[in-house]
């Protein structure tokens, strides 16, 4: 067994094990930590595939941003999880049934999946278009997204933007009586508007 295969099995085993621990851990914060571990090992798998750009983006986006916000929310939750687990056996048959249905569907989809003959050449097209010079996978990805599939990529970006604006609009609430800091007003204050000199007579006050 060569080294790459050995490393692959280590990463894969840790990914699967931490994936199991995400749902098995008693403490929800521990679940998030195991999720982070799973992300990390998936990034390792991407590196083994030679997709170093995707691996780094996975760490930056999922571990560096998404999981932080997850953790942020989960840490603030105040749920009694032992109480939540009381009805575990009661709901087990229903849960198992749903799991079985999903699993069957996945098997059917993956089993009937055929890759179009054109698709595989389209994926390798940018690499071969650049000539015999071996280009890094960042360049290949860039050419694929911004040259060959620029419009679908823009449309995907637009959909995400709409979703983001939608989320903001849905959660926006107008509150009255909020006193916000106005930086411009503070900077515009001068000596003339800010202070007033008064002559105070002794024993009288203002």
């Amino acid at each position: 067994m060569d080294l790459i295969a050995f490393i692959f099995y280590i990463f894969a085993a840790i990914t699967v094990a931490s994936g199991v621990m995400v749902i098995a851990a008693r403490n929800p914060v521990h679940s998030v930590f195991f999720l982070i571990l799973a992300f990390f090992n998936s990034a390792g798998l991407f590196v083994l595939l030679g997709a170093e750009f995707v691996a780094m983006i996975l760490v930056i986006v999922y571990v560096g941003a998404v999981a932080v916000l997850f953790l942020f929310v989960v840490m603030m939750l105040d749920i009694n999880f032992t109480e939540l687990r009381q009805g575990f056996l009661q709901y087990l048959p229903v849960g198992a049934l749903i799991g079985l249905v999903l699993f069957t569907e996945l098997v059917l989809v993956v089993g009937s999946w055929t890759i179009l003959p054109g698709a595989s050449t389209a994926i390798t097209a940018p690499a071969s278009a650049a000539g015999t010079v071996a280009i890094s996978n960042t360049h290949a990805l860039g050419q694929l997204i911004y040259t060959h599939y620029a419009y679908p990529f823009q449309v995907a970006g637009l959909i995400l933007l709409v979703a983001m604006i939608g989320a903001i609009v849905l959660t926006l609430r107008q509150r009255t009586g909020v006193r916000r800091q106005s930086i411009a007003a503070q900077i515009a204050r001068t000596r003339a508007t800010a202070i007033e000199v008064r002559q105070v007579k002794p024993g009288q006050g203002i």
């Binding site: 403490n27 930590f33 941003a65 932080v68 942020f72």
Partner: protein, 339 residues
């Protein structure tokens, strides 16, 4: 025969890499120790004090006295703490601040791992720094650390966004994610000159990313006692400090590579251009001085002001600058050629 084959294929390269790692980490740890001294001296001088001057000549052995003190103290673990996460947090902080050095080029070709996506690797590692603090804050099971941890999470995520855009601006001018390529692209002019506003934004964001004053809200002695560090003692606290100072050096090194021409000499002829690592270290030291200078002079930001600066000032500014840079590069045909 088989054993010698394994040795030459895996054993020898492994031994060489381990030696190289030591050659990088030992100087880094030493410079972290002296950085604490340097920082305190700057701070003292700005306050017209003497600073550490008792242990050794000029107080130079103070960092070692501190380290010895921390090692001999008792590690206290609070009864209500989540023990594993509590002990894991300082280790995470320390490890992350060390692993990032793998991709830093000290001179032309002097780099442990010359990977294609060096900048992204550094960005990824620095964005993970927040976990040490969140884990510490949560696992302490105490109010001040928790508040410190939450603040830090929000702060680091906010400033990473503008750091990301600043890095994109530099990458537009370079056309490569490799750190050595970024330095070589600055042979004509250091990026600090054409991209000066981004240099300033990056440095201020680096202050926020390393939780240094004026952005040390996760610690905030005056209101949160010491934030996420409250429950830590002895070397577990020491690891946080080591990590924080190592991160300062790392962010200075990154600023040097992105904007100040890395190992390139400011005097472009023969005897000076040979001294690559010297220039690199000198630039880092200058930036570290500015870190200490800022700490000694600027008061701490209020939390809402910090958020405003990150989201309402730096983010729009860096976004506009990305578009502007791309526009200028395309208009004048200065786009770097792909290789």
């Amino acid at each position: 025969m088989a054993e010698t084959g394994v040795w030459t294929a895996y054993g020898l390269p492994l031994a060489i890499i381990v030696l190289q790692i030591f050659a990088i980490l030992v100087p880094i740890l030493l410079s972290v120790a002296f950085l604490t001294y340097f920082d305190r001296k700057i701070w003292a001088m700005m306050a017209l004090r003497r600073g550490p001057n008792v242990v050794g000549p000029f107080g130079l052995l103070q960092p070692f006295a501190d380290a010895l003190k921390m090692l001999t103290k008792e590690t206290i673990i609070p009864a209500g703490a989540n023990k594993v996460v509590f002990l894991l947090a300082p280790m995470v902080t320390m490890t992350l601040s060390m692993v990032a050095w793998a991709v830093i080029p000290f001179a032309d070709g002097w780099v442990l791992a010359n990977i294609n996506v060096g900048v992204l690797y550094l960005f990824a590692i620095s964005s993970l720094g927040v976990y040490g603090i969140i884990m510490a804050g949560w696992s302490s099971n105490s109010k001040y650390p928790f508040l410190g941890g939450l603040r830090s999470a929000a702060q680091m995520v906010s400033y990473e966004v503008s750091i990301g855009f600043v890095i994109i601006t530099v990458l537009l001018c370079v056309g490569s994610l490799n750190l050595s390529d970024i330095v070589r692209a600055q042979e004509k002019v250091w990026f600090a000159i054409p991209l000066f506003p981004m240099f300033v934004v990056f440095f201020i964001s680096a202050l926020a990313e390393t939780n240094r004053p004026p952005f040390d809200l996760p610690e905030a002695e005056a209101e949160l006692v010491a934030g996420y560090q409250v429950e830590y003692s002895s070397m577990s606290w020491g690891l946080f400090m080591l990590g924080e100072y190592a991160n300062m050096i790392l962010m200075s090194a990154l600023t040097t590579i992105l904007f100040l021409g890395g190992w390139l000499s400011p005097i472009p002829f023969a005897p000076f251009t040979m001294l690559g690592p010297f220039w690199f270290i000198l630039k880092i030291v200058v930036l570290l001085f500015v870190f200490g200078w800022v700490k000694a002079t600027v008061p701490r930001y209020r939390y809402d002001q910090l958020m405003r600066l990150g989201w309402k000032v730096f983010l729009p500014l860096s976004l506009v600058w990305v578009v502007l840079t791309a526009g200028v590069l395309v208009t004048f045909g200065w786009l770097p050629t792909t290789h």
